[in-house]
């Protein structure tokens, strides 16, 4: 009772209040008089200094961190989405004429503002320089320029050209400007003049030409006229010219007779009529070249290997077996000879078919006039229809048709093979490779990881050894992936693969079958890489299974394995699948190790095809991640490849997302089934 003040201010414990009440008359008054000041200042001080104590700033700090993370991720996705989705939209075809009379036609792919150096100005043509100086002074030294995709690489040796705004005298969008996507030589920009259906003649005498022309005249379709294609020199260059049949006597060099749809509109209509059919024949030809020839080659190779095997057998045969081995070798050689004979015939047959298609296809050609390339005059070119993948008169078509082009480009991208050093065409082999690799990886890593985790959690007696193993497994996740690549190459390819070759594919040696990078080895390398993820996730899922369930199972007389199989695993399955999801996310995006163990720039054959044994896990494969690297940084036409980088990135993200969502959907289904999973 000697310190009533300290007692009352230290709180209102009920024990103290009895004392306090006893002292109330005197002490109570002194308190009310003297204490409030002291207490008041202390309270104010507290409330001032408690900004951090209340946690208000921490809400902002943590919330801010989250917002920044989200923004960065969203920004990245948005960039990829915008650039990736925009790639295939057909842009306007612009034709500009500069002050010094150069003409450029093409699509504007990007633009920028820059500060030109003085020597750039002095290097300009006299007509342009004043405009340039004026523009630069007006904009404080800054100049705007556009990158034109001008195509026509064969004529100009460039795909792209920068055009500064000050150079431009006039700008137009020619109605019939047309973009051609070709199998080779990149894009072509020009204006269609005619579509020709050629008839080649063996006899180029005027009389023969006339009679053939008369025959054509009688059977030509509506809207076509019969002309002669003549090759002559026009202004220093050789050019093909269409001349009337009447001039048959005064030709410089006869090329062919042609049924012609003249004028851009007629040509475009005729193109659309003929293109599908021509391309279909082209596909037929490609299939002949690829599959039929491939099949014949394959059988020939099999026969050759059989001979080789028989030879090896003979080498190893003991004297007793020698006679039989020799007989087998002879038989194999006979088969090989038969097959070679058959193959030669087959090749001839296929060749003949291909030639027939070629003859048919090369008759159809589109005649285009370029806008002139820089200082060159406009030029007429003949484009074979079967080499045109797509023609887009971009300035004439509306949104609907552009959408059609957009969709057809996407479908080509998703289902076709790459061409033009991967900068054009599709990425189907890469999609296939990525998905196949990820699936094989999952199939390999999940059982392996689950078994390892089960041993660690269920069987192993906790102790320093188990802890060490666990730490080692966790650290495995931090090893740089390229190290796994090196290990995969050294172990899977050069040790395991080489031994498999030694045992099973001796006949093909020294060409490696499994002793090199391939789909299987890449998948296994990535399985190793993602193993820690699965082990950790499974361990957590297994340890989250309530002990009461295990005890219940043991009490029913179940053995340890029965308990694991029937109780622990089903219950932990959602968590295990979470591990698989993480492994897929990690594995599908990995590129560095793949470069060492099997991903290649261009894999002509898919790992699954129609040739026995149909599945070829030893083949090298294409991978979207590696494709991004290759297209973006290894391509000669890097400017054209740039948009493909974004599109391929978008695709890779989409595929990883699809794989993940499939796994998540599976997990949710299972979670519902074994309600109460922890993950």
């Amino acid at each position: 009772m000697s310190h009533p003040l300290t007692k009352s201010s230290s709180g209102s414990s009920s024990g103290a209040s009895a004392d306090g009440r006893a002292a109330a008359p005197g002490g109570g008054d002194t308190r009310s008089a003297s204490v409030p000041e002291g207490m008041g200042t202390r309270l104010r001080k507290r409330s001032k200094s408690s900004l951090f104590a209340t946690g208000e700033p921490m809400i902002w700090l943590t919330g801010g961190a989250l917002v920044i993370c989200t923004l960065m991720v969203a920004g990245l996705l948005l960039l990829v989405l915008m650039r990736g989705l925009g790639t295939f939209w057909p842009g306007e075809i612009v034709q500009v004429t500069t002050h010094d009379g150069r003409v450029y036609m093409g699509e504007v792919t990007r633009d920028e503002t820059y500060q030109p150096a003085e020597n750039v100005l002095t290097g300009l043509a006299a007509e342009v320089e004043p405009f340039a100086r004026q523009a630069i002074t007006e904009a404080d030294g800054w100049v705007h320029r556009r990158l034109f995709r001008t195509g026509n690489f064969r004529l100009t040796q460039v795909h792209f050209r920068w055009v500064s705004d000050y150079e431009v005298a006039s700008r137009e969008t020619p109605e019939w400007a047309m973009l051609l996507e070709r199998l080779e030589w990149g894009r072509f920009y020009g204006t269609p003049e005619a579509l020709v259906r050629l008839t080649f003649l063996n006899d180029s005498s005027p009389a023969a030409i006339r009679s053939a022309a008369a025959a054509l005249e009688s059977q030509k379709a509506d809207g076509f006229t019969v002309r002669i294609v003549d090759e002559r020199r026009v202004g220093g260059a050789t050019e093909r010219v269409l001349v009337p049949v009447a001039e048959a006597d005064s030709l410089s060099r006869f090329v062919a007779l042609a049924e012609v749809a003249e004028g851009p509109e007629a040509a475009w209509r005729a193109f659309r009529d003929a293109h599908g059919e021509v391309r279909e024949r082209w596909h037929e030809r490609r299939d002949l070249e690829k599959y039929d020839t491939g099949e014949v080659n394959h059988r020939q190779e099999q026969a050759r290997l059989a001979v080789r095997e028989a030879e090896i057998e003979l080498d190893r045969a003991t004297p007793d077996e020698r006679a039989a081995a020799e007989e087998r070798l002879a038989a194999a050689q006979q088969t090989f000879e038969d097959i070679r004979e058959w193959a030669d015939e087959e090749f001839l047959r296929i060749r003949a078919e291909i030639d027939a298609i070629n003859d048919q296809n090369q008759r159809y050609q589109l005649v285009l006039r370029t806008a002139g390339e820089g200082d060159r005059p406009p030029q007429v070119t003949y484009q074979r229809l079967d080499e045109i993948v797509r023609a887009v008169p971009a300035n004439r078509i509306g949104v609907g048709e552009k959408l059609g082009v957009y969709i057809s480009r996407w479908s080509e991208f998703l289902t076709d093979e790459p061409r033009e050093a991967n900068s054009e065409g599709g990425v189907y082999p890469a999609i296939f490779g990525t998905v196949a690799m990820t699936l094989i990886m999952s199939i390999a890593v999940v059982p392996f990881g689950v078994l390892a985790a089960l041993y660690l959690r269920e069987y192993a007696t906790a102790g320093p050894l188990v802890s060490a193993v666990r730490i080692a497994v966790n650290n495995l996740a931090g090893v740089p992936s390229i190290v796994f690549g090196v290990f995969g190459l050294g172990f899977f390819c050069y040790v395991v693969g080489a031994n498999i070759d030694q045992l099973l594919f001796e006949a093909t040696l020294p060409n490696p079958t499994y002793g090199k990078g391939g789909l299987l080895w890449a998948s296994l390398t990535l399985a190793l890489l993602t193993l820690p993820v699965v082990i950790v996730a499974t361990e957590e899922a297994v340890s989250a299974v309530p002990n009461s369930m295990r005890e219940g199972s043991y009490a029913c007389g179940a053995s340890k394995w029965q308990t694991i199989k029937r109780i622990v695993l089903p219950r932990a399955l959602p968590g295990i699948i979470t591990g698989m999801i993480l492994a897929i996310a990690r594995g599908a995006g990995e590129v560095a190790p793949l470069m060492l163990v099997g991903a290649v720039k261009l894999a002509p054959e898919l790992p699954v095809d129609s040739l026995f044994p149909y599945v070829h896990p030893e083949r090298s494969f294409m991978h979207l991640g590696f494709h991004i690297y290759d297209v973006g940084f290894q391509s000669q036409n890097s400017e054209a490849a740039k948009p493909m980088v974004f599109t391929t990135t978008l695709l890779l993200i989409a595929i990883v997302a699809v794989l993940n969502f499939t796994a998540i959907w599976l997990r949710n289904k299972l979670r519902k089934k074994f309600a109460g999973g922890q993950f």
Binding site: T461, P546, S548, M549, R550, E551, G552, S553, Y554, A555, C556, G557, A558, S559, Q562, R566, I567, P570, R571, K673, F674, A675, G676
Partner: protein, 301 residues
């Protein structure tokens, strides 16, 4: 469902009660002696000698690492009867129960001495196959622990692990067990549904059905009602009433009323020792030891 009418064991009259070896006065400070670690001899009523013992505990001692949890327990559990284990928390009831089907083996630190016998067969002999042993017993836990599978699969679990796959057998066992656990009418239309969707009381009865599916020789119940509301508790107690005679039941309970309602015999344990063991009626109305009386009347513990 009504509360069991027979609160006190009707068989209590069979026991001739007044055959005490020691007087109350002599053992008044028995608990204090136990607390000090002095040796102590359990007070076992003679009424038990008339019964046929299915499970015999013989000088059983158990250690968790260094800490001894059970001291020299010897008791016979009567066949076809319900035997309750009571005592304050931490006295070793559950440990004793879990020792019967050797669930304590799962802990590496457990060490035992002495033995138990199930119908004369040693439980702790090194040659005993623990899994075969557990198949002769069923166990119901404090917290219901249905497996993450359908009701049907839960019930027939012990048959499944024995490799029984004949549908007719499984169906028959499932229905019999669920009827035995008084759950059949409630779940017969949804046997394929997940067991975790049942209510707490139903889950516990499902666990009982699972425990009796393999027709065990002994049914061990570890506070089966402690997590249940009074109505569910009543149903479980009715169920135990129904199972009496058919199964030998050893039940751990905290609830004195429950012990007196459902059991034929009661054992009172304290700090790892068996203090007094006898017919429930005798133990609750005229215990031999003062300590027992104090506990059951709520004066301590």
């Amino acid at each position: 469902m009504t509360e069991p009418a027979a609160a006190v064991d009707p068989q209590a009259s069979n026991a001739t009660a007044q055959d005490v070896g020691r007087t109350k006065g002599e053992t008044q400070d028995a608990l204090a002696a136990i607390a000090q670690g002095a040796s102590f001899e359990s007070e076992i009523h003679e009424s038990l000698q008339d019964e046929e013992a299915v499970l015999e505990v013989q000088g059983f001692e158990l250690w968790y690492g260094q800490a001894q949890a059970l001291y020299d327990i010897s008791m016979d559990v009567s066949g076809g009867k319900v035997t309750a284990l009571i005592g304050p928390s931490g006295c070793g009831k559950s440990t004793l129960l879990r020792s019967v089907n050797r669930l304590n083996d799962l802990l590496d630190i457990v060490r035992i001495e002495g033995d138990m016998r199930l119908r004369g067969d040693s439980i702790y002999d090194p040659s005993v196959d623990v899994i075969e042993l557990r198949k002769r017993m069923g166990m119901v836990f404090q917290k219901s622990n249905p497996f993450p599978m359908s009701i049907y699969e839960n019930v027939v679990y012990s048959l499944r692990i024995d490799g029984e796959n004949r549908k007719s057998v499984l169906d028959e066992v499932c229905e019999r067990s669920l009827r035995g656990a008084a759950l059949w009418d409630e779940v017969k239309d949804r046997l394929d549904e997940l067991a975790l969707g049942l209510s707490g009381g139903q889950q516990q009865r499902l666990c009982i059905a699972r425990a009796i599916a393999a027709e065990p020789e002994v049914l061990l119940m570890d506070e089966p009602c402690s997590a249940l509301d009074p109505i569910a508790t009543g149903k479980i107690e009715d169920l135990i009433e129904d199972l009496r005679g058919e199964y030998t039941i050893l039940i751990v309970t905290h609830n004195m009323q429950q012990a007196s309602r459902v059991s034929d015999y009661t054992a009172f344990m304290y700090l790892g020792r068996l203090v007094e063991y006898g017919a429930t009626g005798d133990l609750f109305t005229k215990p031999h030891l003062k300590a027992t009386e104090d506990y059951i009347t709520g004066r301590f513990g």
